[in-house]
Symmetry: C2
Subunit: 146 residues, 2 copies
Amino acid sequence: MEPVSMLLAMAYRAMGDQFHERLRAVELEPLRPAHGYVFRFLAERRATAQDLAAHLGVTKQAAAKIVSELVEWRYVQREPHPTDKRAQYVTLTTKGRDYLKFADGMWADLEAEMASVIGTAELHALKGNLKKYLDHVGVHHLRPVW
Amino acid sequence: MEPVSMLLAMAYRAMGDQFHERLRAVELEPLRPAHGYVFRFLAERRATAQDLAAHLGVTKQAAAKIVSELVEWRYVQREPHPTDKRAQYVTLTTKGRDYLKFADGMWADLEAEMASVIGTAELHALKGNLKKYLDHVGVHHLRPVW
DNA sequence: TATGGTTAGACAACCAAGTTGACTACTTCA
DNA sequence: TGAAGTAGTCAACTTGGTTGTCTAACCATA
């Protein structure tokens, strides 16, 4: 039997491929996986470009480039930082939140398909065990898989 | 609860991070994930650069570059194609097979750690369900997650 | 058996997404 | 209040890919 690592990679890639295939049908701007990680991060907090850089695991210059792109496409906007005049907060616009909602819907569809294949209880157990493992290794949030 | 897609990505990335961390301690050449996919593919068959390109989902030129690199490091070697004078087979050297064995051992260690956290039976069920899903979506072998 | 279409691999020019390094303006702390 | 550190920008470079072109070899068919 294949190692779990390989099965995890295959399953993740299979879902991701279907996600992007469905996405291609509707989207305008060429959104890449990195953008998804940004949206998801910004959904939970206000963040500076530096915060994003740390989260994505890239340099601040790379993060700044991504932010500029997303600002241009109006998915995010810059706001003055209340206390630090050097910094700017980056936040989701309505368009950004709408996109995230749409993407979450597609992920949920793919999850439902998985549930229909392996069963709801099995899916629930699978998720529970993955969480247990993640908790054990101390991973608590999604970082990019590149 | 997070979507499965996210849990799969997190778990895969968590295992991958540990793998590369352990790898860093011993390796000489700067092997990247792409190389792992090449080794694993070559372990099962003789392949031309074109076959590799198709498997990796990159152009033949990109595949050729990777092959040249691995030949230089002596992980793989080129062999004349028996019937097609244009083509060359790429095969693993002893060094390549040794590396693969070593890597598989590390993946097995990480899997054992997972088993110790969630239980052997649970791990077995998890793998079985992932395979069932992969079978349903028609994915039968590992393609790179980039 | 000649010939036209296809394919494997090499070479070159280019591109995208990251990097490092340097700088300014502002912040923080002893 | 001065020195060290930090947010963001600009510019040069690196890397890992791309497209485009070419040659030699293959293969189908008339």
